[in-house]
Amino acid sequence: MLTVKKVTKIFNPRTVNEKVALHDVSLTLKKGDFVTLIGGNGSGKSTLLNCIAGVYQADQGSIIINGTDVTRLCEYKRAALLGRVFQDPMMGTASDMGIEENLALAMRRGQRRSLRWGITNKEREYYKELLKKLGLGLENRLNDKVGLLSGGQRQALTLLMAIVKKPKLLLLDEHAAALDPRTAKMVMELTDIIIQENNLTTLMVTHNMRDAIKHGNRLVMMYEGQIILDIKYEEKQKLTVEDLLERFESISGEEFTEDRALLSKGD
């Protein structure tokens, strides 16, 4: 479903600020794979997702989503294949527009936009049903501006917007990291349900080891712009935090310290 082949991304090339954010990264996701992507602060997780989504163009290598080579495609064209949720709850929605308007924008992802009315009554009913499933009471607030919602509500809505068009690939970038622990838990549970129900191929960044182990069927770890671990299926099921720390240390040759990275054991 996703093939990332030898992708390199260098920021500010040929300057003193040159930064190799991704170095020869290759990664293949099969249909239905739910990969948790973990790694310290600055290890290149977001850059990898941004290269897949087309926010940045890869300097080298190629990216193929569902058989389409998107390497040279711009961001808005790739959007048809993708669903995305960001770390910042502000980023995934238009705050001055209503809940239903945001959903309607998402519903038209990948379609040619015309002079037809931006939202139909039939859609409204559908959105009500979808929102009801979230259990947040948003189904009665279709016209409320998204700016009035809490961070957790916004992330839940963004998640819904990401999946209304059944994306080939769902990209989640620490989408629960900015929320308080209780809300984060709610959003993570919701994420699991939505991914299972829709059998979505997913790449989810987290800095929480426990979340990375608990969710998904594969765990990928990045370190300094490279993938250093890829733990799959049965092996992943048996994985513990201690295993993970041990394997990180033996590969990177560094001891894992809490303050060096945002990579937390979770609590």
Binding site: A53, E75, Y76, K77, A79, A80, L82, R84, F86, M90, M91, G92, T93, A94, S95, D96, M97, E101, A104, L105, A106, R108, R109, G110, Q111, R113, S114, L115, R116, W117, G118, I119, M161
Partner: protein
């Protein structure tokens, strides 16, 4: 006094069209677009030249609209394709338009005293000039409110609103934000040029200088509308733009009547807008002041 008031209302109605254009860039796209200062003259110039050549005044307004859209297109291309900051893109087009407008007119001003204008039909029905302008202004303004309300409710219009609100989100939802920005700028400047064409006909001349300060007047009208009539739904916001433009003209008429020299008008407008734009700062300052006073008590 009544005559002064009527004149202010008539001028306000025409400036309401420009205000709508300014609103589209400033509030919907979140861009301060200085193209306005040039495209208002472009509209006036195109209309004046065509009307003096015997073209129907309403057709001339149509051409003015298209000319304004062209100006918006240039700014949009500079901004999106060449990645020049929006403010600078607008300034570049504005400067370029000064020469282009001179070329269109062939001289610095064109008189429309001896030709039929968009208002002549109503003057022939026995209305005086001011009333005719008010009638034409109301017709244009109400049609435009309807059209804009419809347009920004369509899929394309919603995409433009989303772009101004959160461009990252818009792109993630498959919206080509370059296209929506260009489109917004074109519609905005099309409206501004339409306003320019109507103003030139009401004052019966087109002048190369007539755009100076227009962006500030447009902003003043947008803000007055918001302050006085609130920011509720889109339809009422469109109406508030018109009321804002009219109130601005009435305020100007009053301060002139009170004896302020006409030369100080632009200074007065700039100060008004500066105060209005800084209102949020003052209100948050006042809120903190109140809080700390409560605490000290």
């Amino acid at each position: 006094m009544l005559h002064i008031l009527m004149a202010a209302v008539s001028l306000g109605l025409l400036w309401a069209i420009i205000t709508m254009g300014v609103y589209i860039t400033y509030r919907i796209l979140s861009i301060a677009d200085l193209t306005v200062e040039g495209s208002i003259v472009t509209g006036a110039a195109i209309a004046a030249v065509l009307i003096t050549r015997g073209i129907n005044p309403y057709a001339a307004i149509g051409f003015a609209f298209v000319g304004g859209m062209g100006a918006g297109l240039i700014t949009g291309l500079l901004h999106t394709r060449l990645k020049i900051p929006a403010l600078l893109s607008g300034i570049l087009t504005m400067i370029a338009l000064y020469s282009i407008n001179l070329h269109i007119m062939g001289r610095a001003n064109i008189s429309l005293l001896k030709v039929d204008t968009a208002y002549t039909v109503f003057e022939n029905m026995g209305l005086n000039t001011t009333t005719s302008v008010i009638v034409v202004g109301i017709i244009f303004v109400s049609c435009l409110i309807g059209i804009l309300y419809w347009f920004f409710g369509t899929e394309i219009g919603s995409a433009i609103r989303a772009t101004g609100n959160n461009p990252q989100m818009a792109r993630a939802q498959g919206i080509n934000t370059d296209t929506t920005i260009i489109l917004g700028l074109m519609i905005s400047n099309g409206l501004v040029a339409t306003g320019g064409a109507l103003i030139a006909q009401s004052q019966r001349f087109a002048d190369i200088q007539m755009g100076i300060g227009s962006i500030v007047i447009g902003l003043a009208s947008v803000i007055i509308g918001e302050v006085l009539f609130g920011k509720r739904n889109f339809a009422s916001r469109l109406v508030s733009l018109v009321l804002g433009a009219i109130v601005y003209r009435i305020i100007i008429a009053i301060v002139l009547k009170l004896g302020m020299p006409a030369n100080d008008l632009k200074l007065f407008t700039a100060i008004t807008v500066a105060i209005a734009l800084s209102l949020p700062v003052f209100s948050s300052y006042l809120a903190t002041l109140k809080k700390s006073m409560k605490r000290n008590r």
